[in-house]
Amino acid sequence: MTDKIDTQRKLTNKERMKISRHAMPEQDPLERAKNFFEVPLGYTPELAIEEAERCIQCKNPKCIEGCPVNVKIPQFIFHVAMGNFELAAQTLKETNALPAVCGRVCPQEEQCEIVCNISAKVEPVAIGRLERFVADWERASRKISIPSLAPPTGRKIAVIGAGPAGLTCAGDLAKLGHTVTIFEALHKPGGVLVYGIPEFRLPKQIVEAEVHYLEKMGVQIQCDFVVGMTRTIDELMNEDGFDAVFIGTGAGLPYFMGIPGENLNGVYSANEFLTRMNLMKGFEFPNHADTPVPMAKHFAVIGGGNTAMDAARTARRLPWAEKVYIVYRRSHIEMPARKEEIHHGEEEGIEFLLLTNPTRFLGDNGWLVAMECQKMELGEPDASGRRKPIPIAGSEFVLSVEAAIVATGNGSNPLINKTTPGLAANKYGNIIADETGKTSREGVWAGGDIVIGAATVIKAMGAGKKAAAAMHEYVMAKK
């Protein structure tokens, strides 16, 4: 890769807006449905510069506010347009510790790109793709810069959970000079980035690199440590000398549907299926991983969100999978998954059974053999604003599947709440926190899915960031 390409062209805004938005080259759908390599291949430096030139550097940019972690978007894109990728990377990292992750999994189309000023006339600047390019370039060039850290404050902060919220919070606190330890229950840091999001959408090597970057900043990561069991929050604060605690434990409690047969062998929560495949590398079973995965030929994934798409596209890649269905009770437009993910799934040959809802799982001798489904029609909008699905009487049919993956959502994991007296939670078990993440317990903040319910990586990162700022003030004021 070239270090610097001196191509700063003097363009008028009109000329800039004439350049059309660049797609990223992608692996061929039929080819990629057989492997676990990443689907989009990323911009080349030339494509990135040309895409960056589409940014008109407007006086009143809205994209920065559209970003939950307020990346200085016009500034980093300016550096890209100048061919100065190193500076672009530094600008990104001023506010975002995980740019290679965000460039891949953020829903930019509803955050920074939707408010891009040129989108009134033409397609918005591909901010996400540029972010990804810059982060990848930096990693490949090995010119990873460590931001300057504030002098040590002598304050100790514990972060619970090494997912997007915790990693971001830890990174910001380390930058401010605090001693930060992240406690992670699983054997690898990353949270949903390693157990949930599949390799072909977010290579684990990238997560490792971004985690390593935090370690270089001095963040300690203690894996195999379950706060609530190995140690409680009270013990961390009263005995181990932590001045403040951030809880970023995520939405780790799978919902099942409460329909007959859901304990049959072959019915999985999306969490179980994805954890087996991603964290435990089950796709390499039996030769390079010991954790078994379902050997079914026909898979049904129930749900219409990003997790459902991840599960379906993962199942599709298993060499023995002949058919993979998405079973979703509403129609295409109500699907909460990103358009891009749905599109990728369609390209890879996943069959979408829409306006369809499972009513029971049918078994033979304890093993799932089929799923009884019912067709639905859409009625009036419900509390979520989406049209409510209503069963059509007499529309039942049977779908032969040996594996069913339930991806209908997650609740909040109760381990911390149960073991932390005085920590207020709502009826769903979500920890109650103010806008900075401050909880009902002195010195304890929380953010991400454990507070707002299952959401996105970047929202969790935004919460981690806000909490870090508030925690900094708190610990500095503490005597």
């Binding site: 054997h187 379950v226 190995t230 409690l253 799978p254 390499e284 079973f285 991983a289 078994p292 109760p414």
Partner: protein, 300 residues
């Protein structure tokens, strides 16, 4: 051991050294492992999850004992599948990559009860700390332990040390009562011996037999369930069991449940969820070990 393909050197990421390893009966091994964080919080009835190496799976093992001064935990593991056989090939000085916990709700221990614990096979290891916890607070403790034959019986001395009374059953009658642990319990119940709480830990058939036996007598009966498990934090739902018609996660709601309410049939079925894959995994591993052995023999 490190020569076996697929068993790379521990990279020292998280290191849990084996301090002592003993070969007991019937492929059951005792491991004393350094895990100081776990020792600080360990309570009777809890378990840990371990992983041997980078490509390894996570398996739950009940805590049989722990030593606060040394910072060690004691586990009894029967070598039956790839992971447990691989573990049996490790020796003192080798390290496990991950040991995490303690997990699960600790056993409820209440004063003023006559406590009868039944342990079958290496299930004896799991009842050991629970019996001790009852003994410590002054409860009368009776342990009924069993094995197929005398040579296969484990932990007799350890159980004697924590029980007021130890009764032994062997299938072939080579030691103690001929028959099963339930044979002894049955005669106790028939004789109206005072029993407040029964705990049974062992194979599913044994726990079911004990629960069926005590039900007509209305004696409170606890069993410790051992479904397939992965994370141990309630995140994946692999370990779901049905107790009193309600879905429960054995890792966070259990592992101890009221035996009279457990759907044992479901548990048996769910334990077989990955049997075909486990067989494949073991066959491949055995082939690798054989090749390795042949190569070593040839080198001589």
């Amino acid at each position: 051991m490190n020569n076996v393909k697929g068993f790379p050197h521990n990279q020292g990421v998280h290191v849990f050294p084996i301090i002592e390893k003993n070969d007991l009966a019937a492929k059951v091994y005792r491991y004393i492992i350094k895990a100081p964080n776990i020792v600080k919080k360990a309570k009777a009835g809890q378990f840990v999850i371990l992983r041997l190496y980078e490509d390894g799976e996570r398996i739950p093992i009940t805590l049989a004992d722990w030593d606060e001064a040394r910072g060690t935990i004691t586990l009894y593991v029967q070598a039956v599948g790839k992971t447990t056989i691989m573990m049996s090939m490790m020796k003192a000085g080798d390290s496990l990559m991950d040991v995490v916990g303690p997990f699960g709700v600790p056993s409820h221990v209440e004063k003023g009860k006559t406590f009868v614990a039944l342990g079958g096979g290496f299930g004896i290891a799991a009842i050991h700390p629970i019996v001790r916890a009852h003994r410590v607070i002054g409860n009368r403790t009776i342990s009924i332990i069993g094995a197929r034959s005398k040579e296969l019986l484990i932990m007799e001395n350890e159980m004697r040390a924590v029980s007021d009374d130890v009764r032994i059953a062997t299938d072939d009658g080579s030691y103690g009562t001929k028959g099963f642990v339930t044979t002894i319990l049955k005669s106790m119940l028939e004789k109206n011996e005072p029993i407040d709480v029964v705990l049974a830990i062992g194979p599913v058939v044994m726990m079911k037999a004990v629960s069926d036996l005590t039900k007509p007598y209305g004696v409170q009966t606890l069993v410790s369930l051992n479904p397939i498990m992965m994370d141990g934090t309630g995140m994946c739902g692999a370990c779901r069991v049905v107790v009193g018609n309600k879905m429960q996660f054995a890792c966070v709601d259990g592992p101890e449940f009221n035996g009279h309410d457990v759907d044992f049939e479901l548990l048996t079925a769910r334990q077989k969820m990955y049997s075909p894959q486990e067989k494949i995994s073991l066959e491949i591993f055995e082939k690798i070990c054989q090749t390795q052995e042949q190569r070593e023999t040839a080198a001589w």
